[in-house]
C-alpha cells in the first residue's frame, strides 16, 4: 500500500525498516538523535543509534571498520561537503579495501548526506559534488529524485555489499509523493523513464528531474515530445537505457545540478558520444550549473543553476528550433 509522505520521511522510514529487519544495521552521525524521544532511539536504543562528535574522518573511517567486521553502518553526514573533510576514508579506503585485499573483505557502508541546498547556504554547503565520486571505482552513488526512490534506494544502499554515497537533495526534502509501506527496494543501475517521448531525450539527475519534467510539459504544448530519463544511480550508471532512448530520439540534453567539467553530465555525454554517436542527429547539449562556486545572493544563485527554461531552450536548440549562442 502506498500513501503520500514527504521525501525526507521516506528516507527515515527506509532506515527504520532496514534496522528492524537486520540487527547489524547501525545509524550514527552528528545531531542524529538529540533526545531520547527520537523515534529511532526509542525503537533501537542508544547502542545502535549514536550521536557522534564533529569528527568526519573518524565517523567515516569507523563506518569502514564496522563494515569490515560485518556490520552495515549508515552514517549521517548532513552536508555532502562534509565528506570532503574525510576524502581519504570516502574514496581511498571504503571503495579500495575490497580490491586491495584481493576480494577478502567487503565494505557495506552508507554515507548519507544532503547536497544542492541552493537556499542561501552559499559556497561551502550547497555544492552538487557527486560527480567527483564517479571517478572512484568501487564507490556507488545514489541520487533519489522522488520520495519512493528515496526510500527504495536507501534500502538498497543498506543491503548492498559495497560503499554507497546516498545523496538527498535538500531542496526536495518536504516534497510529498506516493511511497510504498513496509519493505521496499529500488534496484541500483536501473534508470527510470519518467516521461516517454520520441523527439528528444533529456537525462536529468536528482533535483533536475522535476525541472526537466516541467520543461517537457511546456515543450509538449508546442508539439515537442521529450523523453525524460532519471538514472537514479550514477554508479552503476544505466547507459543501456540512455543509449536506447537516444537511438529512438537522436537528440540528447543532459540536465544536472552539478558543475560541468569533470562532472556527472560530462561522463554521461562521453558515454553517449562514444557508444551512441551513430544515433545522434545533433550535438549533445549539457544544462548544468555554471563552473563557479555557488554564490550567496539569491538572484546570482538562480543565475548559475540549471532551470526549466534553460532545459527547454536547450531542447529547442538541439531540435534546430532556437539559435545556439556562439
Amino acid at each position: 500500500m502506498a500513501r503520500e509522505i514527504p521525501y525526507i520521511a521516506a528516507v527515515q522510514e527506509a532506515i527504520r525498516v532496514e534496522m528492524e529487519r537486520d540487527p547489524t544495521v547501525v545509524f550514527y552521525g552528528q545531531d542524529v538523535a538529540p533526545s531520547d524521544e527520537d523515534p529511532l532511539v526509542q525503537a533501537f536504543g542508544r547502542e545502535r543509534v549514536r550521536v557522534s562528535p564533529i569528527s568526519e574522518t573518524a565517523e567515516i573511517g569507523m563506518a569502514v571498520g564496522l563494515a569490515l567486521a560485518g556490520y552495515r553502518p549508515v552514517v549521517e553526514l548532513l552536508m555532502a561537503e562534509f565528506m570532503l573533510v574525510a576524502m581519504n576514508q570516502v574514496v581511498n579506503e571504503a571503495p579500495r579495501l575490497r580490491y586491495m585485499s584481493g576480494g577478502q573483505v567487503k565494505v557495506p557502508a552508507v554515507f548519507k548526506a544532503g547536497y544542492g541546498f541552493t537556499a542561501g547556504w552559499a559556497g561551502q554547503h550547497t555544492g552538487s559534488i557527486y560527480g567527483m565520486f564517479m571517478g572512484f571505482p568501487g564507490l556507488k552513488i545514489a541520487l533519489p529524485a522522488t520520495p519512493a526512490d528515496a526510500k527504495g534506494l536507501m534500502a538498497t544502499a543498506i543491503r548492498d555489499d559495497n560503499p554507497v554515497c546516498y545523496l538527498i537533495n535538500y531542496l526536495m526534502v518536504l516534497e510529498p509523493g506516493d511511497v510504498p509501506e513496509g519493505e521496499y527496494v529500488v534496484p541500483f543501475g536501473e534508470a527510470a523513464i519518467r516521461r516517454e517521448g520520441g523527439d528528444v531525450t533529456i537525462v536529468a539527475t536528482g533535483w533536475t528531474v522535476g525541472r526537466a519534467l516541467a520543461a517537457a510539459e511546456t515543450l509538449a504544448r508546442d508539439g515537442i515530445q521529450a523523453e525524460v530519463i532519471d538514472p537514479r544511480t550514477l554508479n552503476p550508471l544505466d547507459t543501456a537505457t540512455i543509449l536506447s532512448s537516444v537511438a529512438k530520439t537522436g537528440r540528447l540534453v543532459i540536465a544536472d545540478q552539478g558543475t560541468r567539467h569533470g562532472g556527472a553530465s560530462a561522463v554521461i555525454a562521453a558515454e553517449v558520444a562514444e557508444h551512441g554517436f551513430g544515433s545522434l542527429k545533433a550535438p549533445i547539449a549539457q544544462v548544468t550549473a555554471l563552473d563557479v562556486t555557488v554564490p550567496y545572493s539569491e538572484p546570482m544563485e538562480a543565475y548559475v543553476l540549471p532551470n526549466e527554461e534553460k532545459i527547454a531552450l536547450s531542447v529547442r536548440q538541439v531540435l534546430g528550433e532556437a539559435p545556439v549562442a556562439a
Binding site: E59, I60, G61, L66, P108
Partner: protein, 318 residues
C-alpha cells in the same frame, strides 16, 4: 615468563627479522616490486602483542606491516608471494606491501596513509562492543601518526564510547625522515592522551617481556569489555623509512646505542639467563626459520603472476 611463551615469542621475532632481511635483499635484486618499509628493530612489539591475540581479534596496521601480519598468523609464503606480486599472494598481488590483509587470522588490514587505520579500528571495536563476545581490536601506528587529525578524533571517540581497542604506538622517534622533535613539542605519546583519562603506559619496546606483561593486563580488561587503552613502546627503526632511503638523517651514535638494545639479541640473552631456552636453541630457531623463509621465496618464485583478467572482477562485492 612461561618457557613455551618465551620460545614462541623468539620464534616469531626471528621470523620477522629474517623475513624482513630477505625482503630487503630481494628488493635490492629487483625481485620485490614497489615501495617497501621494513620493521627491523620492532619485532618484539609485534610478537608480544599479536602473540596474545586470538584469530577472531582484529589487528590493523599501517605502511610498515609485514611484521604485524606475520605475528598475527599470516603465512609467510603468501605474504612473500604478495610482495613479489604473485597470484598466490595473500591479496592475489593486488594489495602489496602496504595493504596486506589476512581475514582468516584477523589481520583486518594495513593502510598506506599514516593514521588512516585508527578510525577503522574504532569501527571494528564497536562491533565487538555490540556483540559482547570479548573480542578486541588492536591498532598499530607510529609516533608520526599522532600529529595527524585522525589520532585526535579517534582517541576522543574511543574514550567517549568506551571501545575495546588497544592503541599500540611504536614510538621510534622518527616520522618518515625527520625526528619527533621536529613534529611535536610532546615527547611521549602517553602524555598526549593523558587528559582523556583512560589507562596508558610507556614501555621500552626492546624489553619484550615488559611489552608482553603490560599488554597482557590491557588485553584482559579489554576482553571484559573495557577500553580504550594505549600502550606506547619506545623503539627504534633500524632501517630507512623505505628500502633505498639514503638515510642522511641517521645518527651513528644512536645506531650504536640501539644495536646494543636490539630486541631480538636482548630477548635471546634474557631467555638463556632465565632458562627459558636451552643453550644453542636460538641458533636452531634461526636455522629453522631461515629454511621456512627460503621455502616462502621458492613458493613465491614458482607462482605465476595474476591473470590480468581478474583486474576488473574484484572491484565490487556482488
Amino acid at each position: 615468563m612461561d618457557r613455551d611463551v618465551a620460545q614462541a615469542l623468539l620464534r616469531t621475532m626471528w621470523r620477522i627479522r629474517l623475513f624482513e632481511e630477505r625482503v630487503g635483499q630481494l628488493k635490492r635484486n629487483l625481485q620485490v616490486h614497489g615501495l617497501i618499509h621494513l620493521s627491523i628493530g620492532g619485532e618484539g612489539v609485534a610478537a608480544a602483542v599479536c602473540g596474545q591475540l586470538r584469530d577472531d581479534d582484529a589487528v590493523y596496521s599501517g605502511h610498515r606491516a609485514h611484521g604485524h601480519a606475520i605475528a598475527k598468523g599470516a603465512p609467510m609464503t603468501a605474504v612473500m608471494a604478495e610482495l613479489m606480486g604473485r597470484e598466490s599472494g595473500i591479496c592475489h598481488g593486488l594489495g602489496g606491501s602496504m595493504h596486506l590483509v589476512d581475514t582468516e587470522h584477523g589481520f583486518m588490514g594495513a593502510t598506506g596513509v599514516v593514521g588512516g587505520n585508527l578510525p577503522l579500528a574504532l569501527g571494528t571495536a564497536l562491533t565487538q562492543r555490540l556483540k559482547g563476545t570479548g573480542q578486541v581490536t588492536v591498532v598499530f601506528f607510529g609516533d608520526g601518526a599522532v600529529q595527524a587529525g585522525y589520532f585526535s578524533e579517534s582517541i576522543n571517540l574511543a574514550a567517549l564510547w568506551e571501545l575495546p581497542v588497544v592503541f599500540v604506538c611504536e614510538n621510534n622517534g622518527m616520522a618518515e625522515f625527520t625526528s619527533r622533535e621536529e613534529h611535536s613539542t610532546i615527547d611521549r605519546v602517553s602524555d598526549v592522551v593523558a587528559p582523556y583519562g583512560f589507562e596508558r603506559t610507556t614501555v621500552n619496546g626492546s624489553d619484550v617481556p615488559a611489552v608482553y606483561d603490560t599488554f597482557e593486563q590491557f588485553l584482559a580488561k579489554a576482553r571484559a569489555g573495557k577500553g580504550p587503552y594505549l600502550l606506547e613502546c619506545v623503539t627504534y627503526r633500524r632501517r630507512g623509512h623505505y628500502e633505498g632511503d639514503p638515510e642522511k638523517y641517521r645518527d651513528p651514535a644512536a645506531e650504536r646505542e640501539w644495536a646494543e638494545r636490539d630486541p631480538l639479541a636482548r630477548m635471546t640473552e634474557r631467555a638463556v639467563e632465565e632458562d627459558w631456552i636451552e643453550g644453542g636453541a636460538a641458533e636452531m630457531i634461526a636455522r629453522e626459520t631461515r629454511e621456512e623463509i627460503e621455502e616462502a621465496v621458492r613458493f613465491a618464485r614458482d607462482s605465476p603472476f595474476p591473470d590480468p583478467d581478474i583486474a576488473p572482477t574484484l572491484v565490487y562485492a556482488k
